[in-house]
Point group: C2
């Protein structure tokens, strides 16, 4: 269960765009995005292209062009960003959780995989870019951080 560099970069770029929108600074170039978070420029270019085809950002070409959020930061969930750049939140051997088919002892395994996906959705689809910017995660997400060993390895 890895969060790829691609996804990490995408979220950070979106946060940068959210802040820019907040300050009404107009379109932000890939170059500016890369510099702001120290991301590899050429690679980021491909990532932002995915965000664009997913409709999460809009581009303006030419000099003084760049990218802007399509929607307010409070209406864009991190889960959407995930899906835009790296597909479904959870897959099992390339299948959607509910499409896995087992027999015998593994009969009930799909339920577990569906629960895993649901748990991810509960966090990622509920948390918006604005939440991350402010550091105030949603009501029902916060308790997850209060578990005694939430911040340590297990």
């Amino acid at each position: 269960m890895d969060i790829s560099a691609r996804t990490d970069y995408a979220v950070r770029a979106m946060l940068t765009l959210a802040r820019a929108a907040d300050e009404e600074r107009g379109p932000v170039s890939v170059d500016a995005l890369a510099t702001a978070q120290e991301l590899p420029r050429r690679f980021l270019e491909a990532v932002v292209a995915d965000l664009r085809s997913a409709g999460l950002v809009e581009s303006t070409r030419g000099a003084r062009g760049g990218y802007t959020l399509s929607r307010p930061a409070a209406e864009v969930s991190v889960g959407e960003v995930f899906r835009a750049v790296s597909g479904p939140l959870a897959e099992v051997r390339g299948l959607r959780p509910q499409d896995t088919a087992y027999t015998g002892v593994a009969e009930h395994l799909p339920a577990l995989w569906v629960a895993v996906r649901a748990a991810l959705r509960d966090v990622l689809d509920a948390t918006t870019l604005a939440d991350v910017l402010s550091g105030r995660l949603p009501e029902h997400v916060r308790p997850l951080l209060d578990a005694p060993d939430a911040w340590t390895n297990r």
Copy 2:
């Protein structure tokens, strides 16, 4: 966020061993494990080796040998199986969630990654092999399956 074939196979093999322990059938060979769940035998051999070095199963060599659970199925969580065969539950660009370091707009991102890991733990560390065998997931996991669209794509 993919659950690999490796992990899927590991869980299914563990479930098979759990059932065998239940019926006091003694050690189960890799060949029997592979046949029971239609898994590639040679590949499974490597997977079971990981389960062994993690201490989750014990092996007996020679004819009539095979593998047995080290602990009762009700005391082995699916999370342990995950970690045994594919490392930490959640990583960000190869780093543990709490070890990620950001500046500026991404300042609070580690909290989100930690929450994601915590959500996974809540499901995977709480669910035991016995739970999956019986189809009765833990109290606090079941509600995840009751969400209206839990079983459909989003």
